[in-house]
Structure formats: structure tokens, C-alpha cells
Amino acid sequence: MTNVETTSPVAPDTRASRAGSQGDVAGEAAPTKMTKKRKGMIAALVAALLILALLFAWYLMNRKPLSALPGLSSTTMPHYELSLYGATKPLGVAVTPTGDRIYVTESGGTQLVRVYDRGGKQTGTLKPPASTGAWHLPMYVAINPVTKDVYVSDRQSAAIYVYDSNGKYLRTFAPKGAVGKFAPMGLAFDPDGILYVTDIAGATTKTHRVLVFGADGTLVRQFKAQGSMSFPNGLVVDLRGNIDVADSNNGRLLIFNKSGKLLSTISPGVGEGDLGMPRGVAVDEAGRLFVVDTADHMVRVYRVEKSKVTPTYIGSFGDEGQLDGTFEYPNGVATDKRARVYITDRENNRVQVWGY
């Protein structure tokens, strides 16, 4: 007889069997559910990480803070970052969208327009030729978004000088049409290159007005305010397409539509968001409207909303003083696409750069 080893069949673990058997249908299905769930969670995690990475990449490329993301709250006040020195009694400021070139009008000292790079190093000056006269007082500056030319208003010669982006003088702006006596102050462009100018010519304030010029310099329209403006200074085309004008000596901000109809007013007063002596005005991509209040040594910040004509006050920054982050008669303001705000600090002889 041959020995054959046989192995007794192992009795299945009944518990396990039972369980298995009980869940046989479920047991085969349960691993699938858990896997799917886990897969879903992992996928979500990966997606979130991907979003983060994209955000980080976007930030790196644009050097924008996350606060500048569309849809996020825009009530934060900026913080002081640095100052640019070298200009004496600076008044007006303009900056390229990327922030790589900053133009500053100097009302004291050499009375030129100084050009700085992003790091605050002066790279050049803008000065009209001798044929335009011996004495100049540059006030405000603006960049044409279409041609990239730089426009500078001059108080002494009652003119606007035009330079190319490299600082080469091109011409003296020659308005066409029935402009009459012309004393340009604040300058602003809309995205199509239409030029808006506050004009303070005249022996009385009754003639103070806003002039609108087409791309070829032709006067398109002009408008005043009921009761007259008094030395209007800065102005800007906001995100609603309205023209916000600092009616400086009346202590108010006037909001006009493009046709020149007065829509709303931010008044002088003692309430939150009321104004003292507004001078420079600027908007950023987040819809924030910056109004420099020179007599209060502050910058007022409002939000331009599509649902409301009057911008909503959201806060102020700055205070009177000489330390970083304080002002002595701030005047002009400009913004770039990197969520930076540039403010001329007249009596401290510097341009302050604030950021989000």
C-alpha cells in the first residue's frame, strides 16, 4: 500500500466565512465604495494642491498679493513698503502698469519730472526744450495707455508737454477746438486714450472746468459743476467709466458720467469718508478709489461698485508726520497692476510706496 499524504481540507474560518459570506455581496462591494471615497478625497486634495500651485505661480508671475484675487474682499488697507527720494516738493505721480517706471513731478528744486525704476533708482528726467520757455512748474503727470506717451501739465507755461516712454520730448499738446484760455492741472486717460484735463484758467473759479480731448487733441466736450468747481486738481476714470474729479478747494469729490452729468458727490465734512482738501485721485484693478486728502495728510479709500453711483468709503491710511508711513501734505497718487499705491509726500520730499 502506498502512503499518500493527504491534507485535510482546512475548515474555513466560520466567522470570517460568515462575515465574508454575510458580506459576500457587500464585502465584494464594500472595498469598491471605500476605494472610491478615498480616491475622491485624494483627488480633491490633489485639486486643492493644484489650485494652490496655480495661485502661487500666478502670484510669482504677477507679483500680486492674493488679496488682489477677483472676488475677494477689498476692504484691507495697504501697508507702507518703501519711499523714493530725490524729488523736491513732489506733486504729481504716474506709474507704468508693471511698476517698472515711475514719473514724479517736482515743484521745487529743479522743477523737472523725475523718472525712477522699480527699485527707486532715478533713471532720468523729463524736461521740455528751451523753446518752450525758461521757467516751468510741472504739476501732474499721466501715461496714455494706448500710445504709452507721458503727459505733463505745467503751471508756469499753462501747457501740457508730451514725451515718449523713453523720455524724449515729442511736442506741446495743442488742443483743437474752442478751448479758449487754458491752464491744465490734473490729467487722466480712459482705456481708449481719451484725455481728461482739469482746467483752472480764469480770474474767477466760475471758469474752472473739465476738458475732454479725443486722441487727436480735438475738444470733445467740457463740463463744469453747478456752483462751480474751485481749483479742481486730480481726476480719474473709474471702473464704472465715470470721471471722478477732486474739486480741491471745495473739499469734495465730484462723480460725473462720461457725458459730463454730475451723478454724485463725496462731500466735505466731519463724517467717515468725508473730505478735507482732495488733490490726487487714482483707481486700482480691484475697484478701489484712492483720494489724497492733502490737508488731512491721509489717503481716503473707497470702493467703486457697479450697483452704486457713489463709491463706498472703506477706510483711510496715513497720518501727519515725517516717519515712514506718515505724510506732510501728500498730493498725487497712482497705482500699478501689482497692487501698489504711489503717493507723493510733498513736504517730506519723497514718494511713498504702499502695497497690499
Partner: protein, 372 residues
């Protein structure tokens, strides 16, 4: 598995890591401002609505509890004043010394620049040579097309301490004036408005106590000429205000009415500016006010012993020796060289190229009148 599930969830939340916005209310008080200088003071018996008094103007410049400068100002002068009066808020640009609307020079010059053509001063005489004071057919100190830096000014920076030359009574011991005086715009001008010419204060700050004295005694035909009274000098304002000039030797202003609450020193005079301005200057520069014959009369003062007449206060003819004929009030850009460089009163120091607010280069002011 549950633990593992929770861990994944936590990781998910962490991994999501979307940037949270922190909103901060950058809230600060906003306060009022308003327009030009004008008085809302009410007279005796008048009533004014309180809401009109001040008209929101006060907060333009003042803070009740948080002022940063004297007189409860938001900030110190002159920067406060230059906010408007350097081109951005007014046509009267006292920094540049010109009216930015007309591009004409301001009568008082400017604090940083002036347009006085001191080198171009000229005269045409009517009388024979050797007559002093010369009778002029014409005299002209033209204006420049563009300003040049001032070589002298009333230093109104609110910081620099200077001497108020000649302030004080006739003094036997040497006393050149009041030392350590700090000037600001508001030392001479009342920004609230007071109805006076150029809103000049009747008694400028730091002038001290005024004691009226006889500058020239009465004659048979004219009353005594007096120094500023204790209450100061009110030069009436003009209805038609003229801030500019094209000839810095023509200093009269016949738009200024002659009378403001008092008798005229010269009954027939119609120019309230010339009539009163030297008296006003002497509220500070007391011992510079001198009458007829003062060039040969010992005043009794150890420093200002013999003085050029400066109180000729009628505008008849051309060129009369009063303060404003030779000096501007804000700043001058004329040049002084060589022997024209002056010495401080009391022979204390050579003042360099300081032009002493004069109107003509190299002390040429003298020969505008003296044909020597």
C-alpha cells in the same frame, strides 16, 4: 479606516490652504475744509447764524484737540499756506512771486523766486542834473520773463530766528532791534480775513507794544506825522484788488481807499496804500520810520542816529521816500556785489549778497532818486 479618513480630511483642509483675507478697518476720522479767506465776523448789534459762522472753514487749517502746530493748526506754516499759494490751489503764487493766471509778477516779489529786473532799472529825468531828489519824467524797474532765485526775503519758514531790525523805542545804548524773532505767514497776515489790504494784521505778531510818537511835527499847512498808534495800522482794502505789476518802481495803489476809521495824515491824499504803508511797516521796524530832515537830525538812537526819510506818504509825483518805494515785502532777486554788500545795523556783520528786499541791483535804488 475611519482614522485614516479623518486624516485625509485634515490633510485636505490643510492642503486646500486657500489664502484667507484679513480685513482691517483702516478707519480714521475725516474732517472738514472750505474755501478762501473771508471774515464772517459780526459787528456790534448784528446777529449771525452759528451754522454760518466759520462756514466749515475752521477745519481747513485747525484741529481742536489734535493740532500739530501752534495756534491749533493741523500743520506748521508756511507749508500749510503753500498748499494753495504755490500754484495748486490759488493763482497768487507767493513762492514763485507771480500770478499764475495772468503770468504777471506779484507786487511783493516772491519767497523762492522773484521777477524783479534789478539790472534793467532806468530813469528819465525832467529836472537838471544835480537836483536831489530828482524830478523824474519816468522811472522803470521792469519785470523779468522768468523768475530767478531770491537773494533776500522775509524769512517766514517758522523756524529761523532773526532780528526784527529797528524794533523798539529810540535807544541810547546800542539796540539793533528785537532778537530771535521767528516769522510765519500769519505773523503779518490774518488768514481769517479782516477787511484790510492784503489781510494785513493791524499789529503784526511780535511787534511788541506800540507807542505812538511824532515823526514830523505839525506845520502851518500840514498836521503832525505820527508813528503807528497802539492799536496798530489798518490799511483799507481795495474793491479792485491789484496784485501784480509790470514796473517795480510804480508802487502806489490808488485802488486802496484813503480812509479807514481815522483822519488822513494828508487831507488831500487819495491813495490809502501809500498813506499808511510805512506806518504799518514801522509797527515792527519802529526806528526806521523817519520824517523830513531826519537825515540831518540826531534821533538820539545809538544805532539809527541819522536816517533817510521813510514816511513820505503822499503819492504826488513819482518816487517818494517811503518804505515800499525802495523795498518789496516778500522777497527780492536783485543782486548786490562789491561795495553794495551791506552791513548789519550796529556794524555787526557783513551780510553778503543779501539784497535787503531792495528793488534795484547794487544799491541802485539810491540813484533812482538822487541824481549824483
Amino acid at each position: 479606516m475611519r482614522k485614516g479618513s479623518r486624516a485625509v480630511k485634515k490633510l485636505l483642509l490643510l492642503g486646500a490652504g486657500s489664502a484667507l483675507m484679513f480685513t482691517m478697518g483702516g478707519v480714521g476720522p475725516a474732517q472738514a475744509d472750505a474755501g478762501p479767506h473771508r471774515s464772517t465776523a459780526v459787528g456790534a448789534g448784528q446777529t449771525a447764524l452759528l451754522s454760518n459762522a466759520g462756514g466749515g472753514r475752521c477745519a481747513s487749517c485747525h484741529r481742536t484737540h489734535t493740532a500739530k502746530a501752534e495756534y491749533l493748526l493741523k500743520a506748521a506754516q508756511p507749508a500749510l499756506c503753500y498748499t494753495c499759494h504755490s500754484g495748486a490751489g490759488s493763482d497768487t503764487d507767493v513762492v514763485a512771486g507771480m500770478d499764475q493766471n495772468t503770468s504777471l509778477p506779484l507786487r511783493g516779489g516772491g519767497f523762492e523766486y522773484a521777477l524783479i529786473d534789478g539790472a534793467g532799472a532806468n530813469k528819465t529825468v525832467a529836472s537838471a542834473a544835480g537836483v536831489t531828489p530828482v524830478v523824474l519824467k519816468a522811472a522803470n524797474v521792469p519785470a523779468l520773463a522768468a523768475g530767478t532765485a531770491t537773494t533776500s526775503r522775509h524769512e517766514i519758514d517758522g523756524t529761523t530766528a532773526g532780528t526784527m531790525w529797528g524794533n523798539g523805542a529810540i535807544s541810547d545804548p546800542v539796540n539793533v532791534g528785537k532778537a530771535s524773532v521767528v516769522l510765519e505767514c500769519g505773523s503779518c497776515h490774518d488768514p481769517h480775513g479782516n477787511g484790510n489790504y492784503r489781510i494785513l494784521k493791524p499789529v503784526p505778531n511780535d511787534a511788541g507794544t506800540l507807542v505812538q510818537t511824532v515823526i514830523s511835527p505839525a506845520t502851518a499847512t500840514a498836521p503832525a506825522e505820527l508813528s503807528a498808534p497802539a492799536e496798530g495800522v489798518n490799511i483799507p482794502d481795495a474793491v479792485t484788488k491789484v496784485y501784480t505789476t509790470t514796473n517795480y518802481w510804480t508802487v502806489a495803489d490808488r485802488n486802496v481807499p484813503a480812509v479807514k476809521g481815522g483822519a488822513l495824515p494828508i487831507a488831500t491824499e487819495t491813495d490809502g496804500y501809500i498813506t499808511n504803508v510805512s506806518q504799518w511797516c514801522s509797527t515792527c521796524h519802529t526806528r526806521y520810520l523817519a520824517g523830513s530832515g531826519s537825515y540831518k537830525t540826531d534821533s538820539g538812537d545809538a544805532t539809527f542816529t541819522y536816517r533817510h526819510r521813510s514816511n513820505r506818504n503822499n503819492s504826488a509825483g513819482v518816487s517818494r521816500p517811503n518804505c515800499i518805494q525802495c523795498h518789496v515785502s516778500h522777497g527780492s532777486n536783485v543782486s548786490m556785489t562789491g561795495n553794495s554788500i551791506g552791513v548789519n545795523p550796529g556794524d555787526t556783520a557783513v551780510v553778503g549778497a543779501d539784497s535787503r528786499l531792495l528793488r534795484v541791483n547794487n544799491r541802485g535804488t539810491c540813484v533812482m532818486c538822487h541824481n549824483v
